[in-house]
């Protein structure tokens, strides 16, 4: 069963289409990385799923039921744009309100549990407005985690976090999907971070889903390449051009379709090219995304 299934979702604001027949499939248990430029429709999609926006047309199903089903929606946790906490109330009070809202029975126990997950158990009494950005994001996750959610919708949860904060957030998300069986829809611009946790990706452009791909498929498609820096870039490119696809990025000569840097270095040295730098890499999510957006990568 899919956690989210969207077909032909359209949403306009004053005649401008934010979503234009969007299709989306998020398998149950996935960490679905939702990627797109600013204004591409990520937040609009998430808000439609959460019932904050009324779609013009289209179908949204959560776990095989209409998204307006009260039984499903009570199991959706969301962190969209901001945490939705009252700034003058304590962290504990904010969580207590959400626990009451969700009808959680053992509220104190549940709050303790989610605070532990987000490593905030020592900060429960802190007034929300006094929390740092990283803490606020973690509280937002804690709010979303209350009441045994089956689906988490997180809009840019790692924005503004420091390296430690990002690592912690990554650990939390992996933990809740693996141990709690939760499905996570996460949008982010920080593709390097997303790449470390996502099991599926959806790439949106101008309100349309242009690509949905699993992380496994992405790995299969990832092209290995070797980056070389030599004095005579043109000569090196000519030498390798017959056997490999090459591309000069202004600094390095990237040689695609080869996963052995020693082969390239031997070849260049034997032909009198002095190598000042060589490294082996593969095309990651970021490059895949850039290629897809620029049309270099086939849809």
């Amino acid at each position: 069963m899919n956690a989210i299934e969207i077909r032909g979702l359209t949403k306009s604001f004053r005649g401008m289409y934010a979503l234009d027949g969007l299709d989306m499939t998020v398998p149950q248990g996935a960490i679905y990385g939702f990627i797109g430029e600013n204004g591409s429709g990520k937040s609009t999609t998430e808000k439609c799923i959460c019932g904050h926006l009324v779609p013009d047309k289209g179908k949204i199903e959560l776990f095989g039921k209409p998204y307006t089903d009260a039984g499903v929606r009570v199991r959706v946790g969301a962190l969209i744009e901001n945490t939705g906490c009252f700034p003058n109330s304590s962290v504990y009070s904010n969580l207590m309100m959400q626990a009451i809202n969700l009808g959680v029975k053992d509220r104190a126990g549940e709050i303790e549990r989610v605070l532990k997950i987000v490593r905030m158990e020592d900060n429960a009494k802190l007034t929300f407005k006094k929390c740092s950005l990283g803490m606020k994001q973690r509280i937002g996750i804690a709010m979303a985690l209350l009441g045994d959610p089956a689906l988490l919708i997180l809009d840019e949860p790692i924005n503004g976090l420091d390296t430690d904060g990002m690592r912690l957030m990554r650990e939390i998300l992996v933990d809740i999907t693996q141990n709690l069986g939760c499905t996570v829809l996460i949008s982010s611009h920080i593709l390097g971070e997303l790449e470390k946790i996502a099991t599926h990706y959806g790439i949106i452009r101008q309100g349309k889903m242009i690509k949905e791909i699993s992380a496994a498929e992405m790995d299969g498609r990832s092209r290995a390449y070797v980056s070389v820096k030599t004095r005579d870039i043109e000569g090196a490119a000519r030498l390798l051009a017959g056997r490999f696809k090459t591309e000069y990025d202004g600094e390095y000569l990237n040689v695609y379709g080869v996963d052995d840097a020693s082969y390239i270095s031997t070849c260049l040295l034997q032909n009198g090219h002095f190598i000042s730098e060589i490294r082996q890499d593969k095309v990651g999510l970021e490059q895949y995304y850039i290629d897809l957006m620029s049309g270099k990568e086939a849809l």
């Binding site: 069963m1 149950q28 808000k47 019932g51 998204y67 089903d69």
Partner: protein, 270 residues
């Protein structure tokens, strides 16, 4: 996915949903200063009105209970004493409801409510009941403040107890209708806090009904409006007056709740 389980989704009943929404609203009400500030304001209004009003022969009140309700249902008012009574609670109640709902939107908490509550009528009903409860409490503190102020001013307390009880009961019942109106206004102008609060204030003062009364006179037809029925609950009230208040309050509460729910379903909520 390997860890995908077969999930069971239990549909919460209407009462379970409402319990959750009401629970969080009341928790907020009792854990923030807003409610306490407004019930304190309600308690002090009678003293302020008495202090600011004329004394001696032109005194606003000749009886302590006139602080609670006017002698007769006069929509066309000739002095402040006929106007300044427990109905003022509904003006301040409107401001309180506006601030309360405004905080929902300002903090973004409303997103949590609408994410987990697919049925948008829950929001309307919960806010209406919360507003009604708050105004009811304000009526009580206004009454206590009025009695203390009246006693301090040396006003007599002689009254027909039955009529007084009907007047107080009638005004308290009107809290429900007023709360639904204010909730509806705040739903309509949810992103324009200033307009919400100004409109609640204007409607709470009863200016439109007083204006209509200036044209049609003291017509009982004005009782179909919230302000009309609120005035109808006066010191000459009887059981029929209470029933009129009940009918007016409940009918308008139903109308505003239905309209508010339609608006929430048809328009973006955040």
């Amino acid at each position: 996915m390997e860890n995908a389980n077969v999930l069971q989704f239990e549909k919460p009943s209407f009462f379970e949903r409402l319990k959750g929404m009401l629970g969080v609203d009341f928790y907020r009400l009792f854990h923030t200063p807003l409610f306490y500030i407004f019930i304190a304001i309600a308690a002090f209004i009678p003293a302020l009105v008495l202090m600011g009003g004329a004394q001696g022969e032109n005194a606003m009140y000749t009886n302590a209970w006139q602080i609670i309700a006017a002698d007769s249902p006069l929509y066309v008012i000739s002095n402040m004493g006929q106007y300044a009574n427990m109905n003022m609670v509904f003006i301040f109640g409107g401001i309180m409801v506006s601030i309360f709902i405004g905080h929902d939107y300002q903090s973004g908490y409303v997103k949590q409510l609408f994410t987990t509550h697919a049925k948008k009528q829950d929001y309307m009903i919960s806010k209406t009941l919360l507003g009604a409860f708050s105004m009811l409490c304000m009526c009580v503190t206004y009454m206590i403040g009025g009695m203390i102020s009246g006693a301090a001013a040396g006003l007599p307390f002689q009254i027909n107890a039955g009529a007084l009880l009907c007047a107080i009961l009638g005004k308290m019942i009107m809290s429900l209708g007023w709360a639904s109106l204010y909730t509806f206004i705040n739903i309509i102008f949810r992103r324009k806090f200033g307009i919400s609060i100004a409109l609640c204030f204007v409607l709470g003062t009863g200016i439109p009904v007083i204006g209509a009364a200036a044209l049609v006179g003291n017509s009982p037809a004005l009782n179909i409006f919230l302000y009309g029925s609120s005035v109808y609950a006066c010191l000459s009230a009887n059981f029929i007056s209470v029933l009129v208040c009940l009918a007016c309050s409940v009918v308008w509460a139903a109308i505003y709740n239905i309209l508010g729910t339609i608006v929430l379903y048809r328009r973006d909520v955040y």
